[in-house]
């Protein structure tokens, strides 16, 4: 009844081609942004901001990277965490080597490093579909992980292998390092994620996005429309790695304030991101956020939520239950709704559009 497009006539193609053509959607988006940018920083506890919101945003960005290549282009990648690692170390090296350049510049620049590395690993395997690409990305994962541990230059020869993110400022505010408040880090991260999501949405709604999806849905027909498959897949891969790289860069600069970084980018992390994309929704930007939210919140609820309402639960048990739940969810999604939570949301919207009448 309230969620309707009735009466909202589009007078131009530009209006019809807008990403959110329905007014209620635009209002909804505005409210979410307001909550994220104003309400949460003012009212959220330090714990909520640094342990819930920051990981949520970082992984949303990583999931977006994987979704571009897997959800939109139909190519499986098992190396997303490694490409995050490339971005993370690139950012660390860049900011320690050129401390005077603004950190935001380096965060975005790190994306280019992982885009190049991602494309390099993809080139030999893109001619072949499915299995071989998965294996090549797996090889990238192991090789890069090895580099992160074995090349001391990457972590500036620190004895423990830990990286210490130096203090950097933006408009006079400390935004990285041990002295930056969680709220500041969160706000910077939010701005980056919103910007990157906007860019992704632009790209995916235009010619480039259609090219990706055409390759995914029917590659022979795509070729016949004049799409060259190899460059298209390579673009998708580079773009995906770019997003993963930026996610890695913000992970070390705005989330971890210091510590051993090599362990963050292992194969488990890659699978974790893949699960987010599957559960959230392949080929949906909204899905990246939904998947990341769910997979970040479930373990927290088990770990802190249950004890706080009086259900004592050992942390190992919580871990096991978490694995069980994620596994069950994936099986459920694969069987019931291959397009994930994002599609469930769409169906709800469709129902709302006609509510209270069943048709």
């Amino acid at each position: 009844m309230f969620y309707r497009e009735a009466g909202q006539f589009k007078k131009t193609y530009a209006a019809d081609m807008a990403v959110f053509p329905i007014l209620q959607d635009r209002i909804g988006l505005g409210i979410i942004l307001f909550i994220a940018a104003v309400v949460i920083p003012l009212t959220g506890s330090t714990f909520f901001i640094s342990s819930v919101m920051i990981p949520f945003l970082v992984f949303s960005l990583a999931a977006m990277g994987l979704n571009i290549v897997t959800g939109y282009t139909g190519l499986i990648s098992l190396g997303s965490a490694a490409f995050m690692g490339v971005g993370a170390f690139a950012c660390f090296k860049l900011t320690t080597s050129f401390p005077n350049v603004n950190i935001l510049v380096w965060i975005l620049a790190s994306g280019f490093f992982s885009a190049v590395i991602g494309a390099l690993f993809a080139i030999p395997s893109l001619r072949i579909k499915g299995f071989y690409l998965a294996v090549a990305t797996l090889a990238a994962q192991f090789f890069l992980e090895w580099c992160f541990v074995r090349i001391p230059w990457l972590y500036n020869y620190s004895a423990s292998g830990a990286i210490q993110v130096p203090q950097r400022t933006l408009f006079g505010h400390i935004i990285t390092g041990a002295n930056a408040t969680p709220t500041t880090r969160y706000l910077v991260l939010l701005a980056i994620v919103v910007f990157m999501t906007w860019i992704a949405s632009n790209i995916l709604h235009g010619r480039v996005g259609r090219t990706f999806m055409a390759v995914r849905d029917m590659d022979i027909a795509a070729e016949l429309m004049g799409i060259r498959l190899l460059p298209a897949k390579l673009t998708a891969f580079a773009l995906s790695s770019f997003y993963c790289g930026v996610a890695g860069a913000v992970m070390v600069t705005l989330w971890y304030t210091g510590g051993e970084a090599s362990d963050l980018f292992n194969i488990r992390q890659s699978f974790y991101i893949l699960f987010m994309v599957i559960i959230g929704g392949l080929g949906s930007l909204l899905g990246c956020f939904l998947g990341s939210a769910l997979l970040n919140i479930v373990p927290l609820v088990l770990k802190y939520g249950l004890p706080s309402i009086g259900i004592a639960i050992a942390s190992e048990t919580a871990e096991h239950i978490n694995h069980l739940l994620v596994g069950a969810l994936i099986i459920f999604i694969l069987i019931v709704e291959p397009h994930g939570m994002a599609r469930l949301w769409q169906i709800t919207k469709q129902k709302l559009r006609t509510w209270p009448f069943p048709y």
Binding site: N202, G206, R210, A214, R216, A221, L224, M225, G226
Partner: protein, 264 residues
């Protein structure tokens, strides 16, 4: 790249000479020659497995024949990549609908405009300026095709959800969006009911009239073939057994035998 001539109506647009295509031991096409003139509807008919689809695949570069030559718009080649064929103005539809299932009707047809959209990636990042102008300009063109094919109501529907007849129509729309010089249609009416077939016939004739497109048509319904086509080429077991106007072909004894299944 070779120079491509502009071909005047009635002149030879495509010439296939002595093409032979083998899959291992199977000969799908044996020494077939025929041509297509600009502006005509050229039917290719024949029983199942005669090599009709293979012939289209040879023309647009999916299959590379072992022997023979193909001359298109004055340039001769033996091998070609499909995306190059597309750039030279060859579009096609498939026997088993090959749409982009997860995309809407509108997006499917928009993909047909890909080759004409060349604004740099940079502008797409912002979806503003030249990229947006380009989107709007091609959207207008696509809307004309949508009007032409009478599929306004399914503009925003994911094509995977459409009934078969409409899917075939969207596929034609996607091919038309390429503004092809030569349009290859592989059984565009297979599995349709009478009304849908009549619509499709009308669209094919209108395409020829309005856009001046040359059409190569594979079809099993002989009535449709006789009505639509200017010339008919008949294949059987990979061999060409007849070629000519519908009347000539209809009277050809070999064709009658092939279709009635008379023992040789």
């Amino acid at each position: 790249m070779k120079e491509f001539k502009t071909i005047a109506p009635g002149e030879e647009l495509l010439n296939v000479e002595n093409v032979t295509l083998r899959f291992g031991g199977v000969k799908a096409i044996t020494d077939v020659s025929f041509n297509i003139k600009k502006g005509e509807v050229r039917a290719i008919i024949g029983p199942n497995g005669a090599g009709k689809t293979s012939m289209l695949n040879v023309i647009n570069g999916f299959y590379h024949p072992q022997e023979g030559r193909i001359t298109y718009r004055g340039a001769t080649r033996s091998k070609m990549r499909p995306h190059v064929a597309a750039a030279q103005g060859i579009a096609r539809t498939f026997q088993n609908v090959a749409l982009f299932k997860g995309m809407t009707t509108l997006d499917n047809i928009m993909v047909g405009r890909t080759l004409k959209m060349q604004k740099p990636f940079f502008w797409h990042v912002f979806r503003h300026g030249p990229a947006m102008q380009e989107e709007i300009e091609h959207r207008k063109f696509v809307e004309e095709i949508i009007d032409f094919l009478e599929i306004e109501h399914i503009r925003k529907t994911p094509v995977g959800k459409l009934p078969y007849g409409l899917q075939k129509r969207v596929e034609l729309g996607r091919a038309l969006a390429m503004q092809p010089e030569l349009l290859l249609l592989d059984e565009p009416m297979a599995g349709m009911n009478l009304e849908e077939k009549e619509d499709m016939c009308r669209f094919i004739l209108d395409t020829k009239e309005q856009y001046g497109t040359t059409i190569a048509l594979i079809e099993h319904d002989i009535g449709v073939v006789m009505d639509l086509s200017d010339r008919v080429c008949v294949l059987e077991y990979g061999l060409k057994i007849a070629d000519g106007t519908p009347e000539e072909v209809k009277a050809n004894q070999k064709v009658i035998d092939a279709y009635l299944g008379v023992a040789h």
